[in-house]
């Protein structure tokens, strides 16, 4: 039933902006970095490394676009129901509310992974342009451990994805999840650079997991993400099960 619901939810995103934003958000990040790279003079010597370019890409993605993208995609998936009172239609069908909750969360996560993949492809594309038109060397282009990075994102982004999903499910007004996304994103830079406080701020976990230099801190961020995700999964499941359908 879960897979059936996942397919149903995927079908519901047909002809929506889901696919467009999955490509547009990472493209914006890469375009921004590409423009900056084209406008600055890069010293090409033995010390040159692609690491900095990739690092910048994943950092901007992690502290700016990714949390906003999560807010957008979870809001979009839940607005599909809020807009047409689809909750009552779905709940009148033989399905479990918990499965529906999970199907939407899983689809949001898959779209997130799709966006991360798109970020990789676009970054490679931009790198190609820098090689071709700015004379950057192609050597070491693939040295950055992007897949490892993506794996960490897959875990570290779960708490915020679930928080945004629960808020989007709960509130019919799209302003609520989007406001949360925007406000929470604004605090990432400040909180994630604080050694004492990043711990309490789930929006900083992706950035810490991917861009922190200390392996122990990265491990803590990932563990914390996983634990918080499990707690949110349980809370979300119980809540979805108990919730009555008013709209």
């Amino acid at each position: 039933m879960f897979l059936t619901l996942l397919k149903v939810e995927l079908l519901k995103t047909k002809r929506t902006l889901a696919l467009l934003i999955m490509f547009a958000c990472p493209l914006m990040v890469v375009t921004l970095l590409g423009l900056m790279s084209f406008n600055q003079e890069q010293v090409i010597d033995e010390s040159f490394s692609w690491q900095h370019f990739w690092f910048s890409t994943t950092a901007i993605w992690g502290y700016f676009m990714l949390p906003l993208y999560i807010a957008l995609v979870t809001a979009l998936l839940n607005q599909t129901e809020h807009k047409v009172a689809g909750w009552r239609f779905m709940h009148a069908l033989p399905l479990s509310a918990v499965n529906l909750f999970w199907a939407k969360a899983t689809l949001a996560w898959l779209y997130l992974m799709g966006a991360c993949l798109a970020l990789y492809v676009f970054t490679l594309g931009m790198s190609g342009l820098l090689v071709a038109f700015k004379g950057w060397p192609s050597a070491g282009l693939f040295d950055f451990p992007y897949w490892q990075n993506m794996l960490k994102t897959a875990v570290a982004a779960l708490p915020i994805l679930l928080i945004q999903h629960i808020v989007s499910w709960r509130f019919a007004n799209i302003v609520a999840p989007l406001a949360l996304g925007v406000i929470a994103t604004m605090g990432i830079m400040q909180v994630s650079s604080s050694k004492e406080h990043w711990f309490y701020y789930p929006w900083s976990y992706v950035l810490v997991a991917n861009n922190n230099q200390n392996p122990e801190t990265i491990g803590t961020a990932l563990t914390l993400s996983a634990v918080l995700a499990v707690v949110l999964m349980l809370v979300g499941s119980v809540w979805a099960h108990k919730r009555q359908v008013l709209a």
Binding site: K7, V8, R88, A92, V245
Partner: protein, 300 residues
């Protein structure tokens, strides 16, 4: 004696301490078309949501298809709740494929229900291009998928043109016999209900104030035969002797209460035989709408 397909006992439901249902009792016979009537805000939608398990009753018991609503097998239930819920960006076929997948039905089911509601040609069109009537028919098609044992419909003919109304009405009427489906339908269009329902229940003040078969309800309705005569007093005396109950309205008109249609020749013959001049006789049988409105006045 068959188990009722819907059996609600003393159900109560409040929202923020505001009681909506105050001990609701409903008994819907199998293979019936049960019209659920009530004014806006009386709790019809709340009741329907409780029957589908979308809302939980604060107290009382709700049994649907012989089981507690919490254990209800929703594969056997089709529903339209309030206005039809349609994902406008999907085509009709895509929309129906949601129910098909979840109810695990064959692909041919989509074609079958589309044909049932005369939407076969519009199957690949986006729902956003549909008229209100087409949307209503599509919602009905969705509810009919998988031949449900129980169909719960909220205002199913809303937005339909007269021909569409008739088609849907005929479709609903045939369901109990053709596919053993019982229908629970809430509606404000009382003349429509009258044409398709076999049973009726009236909700007022959070309780069912009346529940009966339509046939029985008709027997309860007071029909009248209005007579314009030369002297209503003389006519009343003649008819009293003949065993009829009358009410004088004016010196020249009176009403015979509860006559059967077939008694009209006898009434007129009595009067003429006794020399009462009869100018006009008008037989009046109240409609369900008049009955509902008069019961509303009584309850007010």
């Amino acid at each position: 004696m068959h188990t009722p397909i819907i059996h609600v006992q003393n159900a109560t439901k409040s929202f923020s301490a505001l009681p909506v249902l105050k001990g609701l009792n409903i008994s819907v016979p199998q293979r019936s078309v049960y019209a659920f009537l009530g004014n806006n805000g009386e709790g019809k939608s709340t009741t329907i949501r409780m029957l589908l398990g979308l809302l939980r009753a604060d107290s009382g018991s709700i049994q649907v298809l012989g089981k507690d609503v919490a254990q209800l097998d929703k594969r056997q239930v089709g529903a339209i709740i309030d206005a039809p819920v349609l994902y406008a960006h999907l085509t009709a076929r895509e929309y129906l494929s949601i129910t098909r997948s979840i109810k695990n039905l064959s692909k041919s089911e989509i074609a079958r229900v589309l044909e049932l509601v005369s939407l076969t040609k519009a199957g690949n069109r986006k729902i956003s291009t549909f008229s209100l009537g087409m949307k209503q028919r599509l919602a009905l098609a969705q509810a009919l998928m998988g031949d449900p044992k129980l169909l719960i419909l909220d205002e199913p003919t809303n937005g339909l043109d007269p021909q569409g109304m008739q088609e849907i009405r005929e479709l609903i009427k045939q369901l109990p016999e053709q596919s053993d489906t019982s229908v629970f339908v809430s509606s404000h269009l009382l003349d429509e209900v009258e044409k398709m329902a076999s049973h009726v229940g009236i909700l007022r003040g959070g309780k069912l104030v009346l529940e009966s078969s339509l046939e029985h309800a008709y027997k309860q309705m007071t029909s009248t035969l209005k007579l314009d005569v030369c002297s209503s007093q003389k006519a009343a005396e003649v008819l009293k002797v003949a065993g009829y109950q009358t009410v004088q309205e004016t010196p020249s008109s009176l009403n015979v209460l509860n006559p059967v249609f077939e008694q009209i020749p006898d009434v007129t013959a009595c009067l003429i035989k006794k020399g009462v001049q009869l100018f006009q006789a008008v037989y009046h049988k109240p409609t369900l709408e008049q009955w509902f409105l008069s019961s509303n006045k009584q309850g007010a």
